[in-house]
């Protein structure tokens, strides 16, 4: 009998010790000490039911960390939609190329400063960890549209040792109203897509950059305006990366000099 009581007590101990009451389920964590800007590449698709959940996490991060988090929505992959005669599609061949290059397997999935695929529920932690790291360079971007072209200037200044890698410049568009499959399986035809990658400005994988400590280099480039883009909603993202990931990133809204 005593053995039976011991056995029952042991079983109860196992089942009791893990229950977490409703008021005890959240643990407060101090926000990250921001030392740099972080690039979050969101591999998404208009036919991807869970992708709006990833977007919701991006919005939380932007609210907490503001400009320090640079999100880019890369539409493509198996759940991307390239559009038809009736509906706008945001997926591009370049989006597919990036998706395949990084050997991604599902959507939504993110690259946080290009340190490997991260499931969307882990983005907050990965961004937080990355924000605390010190970047070896600073980047500034200026961009304005006049005529049929966007004029872009990227200035990079080394701050900590030599940096060798690639400078990548992308053009993004906000406020695109287009269909999106929602987590409940329904289709929202007027879903507002932000920070959508429209095109790379300086090639799929950017251009070489080598910069020493306290050295400053300036890069100028142009991008022709596509008739489908709303020039009031465009942004430029520039970042430097190599095999160790993204070193630093910057984002600026394109100044629209076109008379409306």
């Amino acid at each position: 009998m005593r053995k039976l009581h011991f056995l029952l007590f042991t079983l109860m101990l196992f089942t009791a010790c893990s229950h977490i009451n409703e008021g005890e389920r959240l643990i407060y964590v101090k926000p990250a000490n921001v030392s740099r800007r972080v690039l979050l590449e969101d591999f998404t698709g208009q036919r991807c039911v869970n992708c709006p959940k990833g977007t919701a996490i991006i919005e939380q991060l932007l609210e907490e960390y503001g400009d320090a988090v640079i999100a880019v929505g890369i539409h493509g992959g198996p759940l991307g939609f390239k559009g038809n005669t009736k509906m706008i599609g945001l997926a591009t061949d370049i989006g597919d190329e990036y998706y395949n290059h990084w050997q991604l397997e599902y959507q939504p999935v993110g690259l946080i400063d290009r340190h490997g695929a991260v499931n969307y529920t882990d983005w907050t932690k990965a961004v937080k960890d990355e924000l605390a790291k010190v970047a070896p360079l600073n980047i500034m971007v200026e961009a304005d549209v006049s005529g049929d072209d966007i004029h872009i200037t990227v200035t990079a200044t080394g701050t900590d040792g030599n940096t060798n890698g690639k400078l990548q410049v992308w053009l993004l568009e906000d406020g695109i109203s287009a269909l999106q499959t929602m987590p409940d399986g329904t289709t929202n035809r007027d879903y507002v897509h932000n920070h959508v990658l429209r095109t790379p400005v300086n090639g799929t994988w950017g251009e070489d950059i080598s910069i020493g400590s306290d050295e400053t280099k300036t890069f100028s480039m142009q991008q022709a305006v596509d008739a489908q883009w709303d020039t009031t909603q465009l942004s430029i993202v520039a970042f430097v990366y190599n095999d160790d990931g993204v070193m630093q990133a910057a984002k600026v809204k394109v100044i629209n000099n076109i008379q409306q």
Partner: protein, 518 residues
């Protein structure tokens, strides 16, 4: 090398001790090879020169001790497996000792408690699933009709073992061994109870930028069940419950998980009936809470939907929805009309009707009504006709696509030219206005016993793409060897087994499959 040592030791022991049961070596070899080709029409890409999934199992058995290893070469696997699946090595190694009523296993092992509602570790190579445990297991049979199991281990995930610890115990009692009146009346009554515990340390899962979840480190699950067999009747009732287990699958919900199932069958010569129902909610149970994909599952729920084999009947296969929940019902009846009766005709006729329905919270996940007639028309010709009406919620199973409603018609004829020559043909048609529209399928298969089989088939999309997915193959079998070579296209789609599915991208090329058992 390891095997050679085992062999030498075992042989030495056998010769010196003169055991009654000689030491024996058994094994299997399975190698599936694809030499892929590009095919832009179907979206097939040549990713490598040669792709192969190759397994070699070896077991050394003796009276008291068994030893086993499995080598796997998956460095360049067939299309559609998760990236972490790639690798090669010896992920299985075990030693099993038996003494009296006890059996102790150390190393890797598979186990199932009851129907698997809280524990089922198994291997399904076609899906890339191998969730074995690395640890120890003790099985005791202390008295007649009683089996007790206890185990603990870490679960395999491709080429590593998850850090979480899975432990559990199971007891089954066959009451008919203890109660003479039950045994004398031919009644078999078995009661079982199981418990599984998963330990996994805290991790940082944020709900917003400044709050993370306080996660339970221990998750407990338990299961009770009873099976009753008497004459043609067989009944199973089982209930399982799981404590708080926030995971990616359940969107980090703190709700408990439950499953209840009932299955009853009647089987007598010429007549069979099956009726079963299952309700499950929040029963995804993995050894890694943040895992996605098909790996790291500790449990498995039986699908309660008909398992089909015909190509178009499995075009839209259902995958059990562990994470959300489902109500599943299945009813099946089979009847043999005797020969030389009005309906049975000269040679008799078999009719089977199956109905499966799966839903949750007002949404139909899957429904399947199928009728199969099998009839021998002449001494040499046997015909199977099947009609199937299917509703497949593509959004639930695949993430998008809406409800696909289809009617499927199948004719399978087998003509025996001689005792050694059999020709089998299949004609199938799937009619639907959803997804990619109608499909047609044809197969010709010639068996030349005892060694050869030749086959050719084509799956054709009538409704949208108008693409042909042709396949041709030759199989040669002799003794324990079986070699199959083929060439053709495979469409993109889901490959399912037991309600678990894997997406396979389109591919094309030469295939080879070799199996050997000894």
């Amino acid at each position: 090398m390891l095997l050679a040592v085992f062999l030498l030791n075992a042989n030495a022991q056998d010769q010196t001790t003169g055991n009654k049961q000689p030491v024996s070596l058994h094994g299997t070899v399975q190698s599936d090879v694809l030499i892929p080709q590009n095919d832009h029409d179907i979206g097939a890409e040549k990713t490598d020169d040669v792709l192969t999934n190759t397994y070699v199992d070896l077991q050394l058995q003796s009276q008291y001790v068994d030893v086993g290893v499995r080598m796997e070469y998956l460095e360049h696997p067939l299309p559609g497996f998760e990236r972490d699946f790639e690798g090669w090595g010896v992920p299985h190694f075990w030693v099993k000792g038996r003494l009296g009523c006890a059996e102790l296993t150390a190393g890797t092992f598979y186990e199932q408690f009851g129907s698997g509602l809280i524990l089922r570790t198994y291997e399904e190579r076609s899906l890339g699933i191998d969730n074995s445990l690395l640890g120890g297991r003790l099985v005791l049979k202390p008295t007649k009709g009683v089996t007790i199991k206890a185990l603990s281990g870490r679960q395999r995930r491709y080429w590593s073992w998850n850090k979480g610890l899975v432990s559990g115990a199971d007891a089954e009692v066959a009451l008919n061994e203890w109660i003479p009146s039950l045994g004398n009346s031919g009644t078999e009554l078995m009661l079982g109870v199981s418990w599984v515990n998963k330990y996994e340390k805290q991790e940082d899962i944020f709900v917003d930028a400044t709050h993370k979840l306080n996660l339970p480190e221990f998750v407990n699950a338990w299961d009770v069940r009873a099976t009753l067999n008497k004459g043609p009747w067989s009944l199973l009732a089982e209930y399982a419950q799981k404590t708080q287990d926030p995971s990616f699958d359940n969107q980090y919900s703190y709700e408990r998980g439950t499953t209840a199932l009932f299955s009853g069958s009647y089987s007598k010569k010429g007549l069979s009936l099956l009726l079963q129902a299952k309700r499950s909610e929040n029963m995804s149970f993995r050894s890694r809470r943040s895992m996605i994909g098909t790996s790291s599952f500790i449990n498995h729920l039986p699908p309660f939907t008909q398992s089909h084999t015909y190509a178009l009947a499995v075009l839209y296969p259902y995958a059990t929805q562990l994470a959300s929940g489902e109500w599943a019902w299945q009813a099946e009846a089979g009847y043999n009309f005797k020969r030389k009766t009005a309906l049975g005709g000269k040679y008799g006729m078999n009719v089977k009707v199956n109905f499966s329905h799966v839903r949750w919270e007002g949404t139909t996940f899957y429904q399947d009504l199928d009728v199969v007639l099998t009839r021998k028309l002449t001494q040499d010709f046997k015909l199977l006709l099947m009609y199937m009406n299917q509703r497949y919620n593509k959004t639930v199973v695949e993430g998008e696509g809406g409800m696909v409603c289809s009617n499927i018609f199948i004719a399978d004829g087998k003509y025996q030219f001689s005792p050694k020559v059999i020709l089998r043909t299949e004609l199938q048609y799937l009619a639907t206005s959803d997804d990619q529209g109608d499909w047609a399928y044809g197969l010709v298969e010639l068996s030349l016993a005892p060694h050869w089989m030749l086959s050719a088939s084509d799956t054709y999309n009538v409704g949208e793409t108008h693409l042909h997915y042709y396949q041709g193959g030759v199989t040669f079998s002799t003794g324990a060897h079986r070699l199959q070579v083929g060439y053709g296209r495979t469409r993109a789609g889901y490959n399912c087994s037991g309600g678990v599915c894997r997406y396979v991208p389109a591919n094309k090329g030469f295939t080879m499959s070799y199996n050997y058992n000894f």
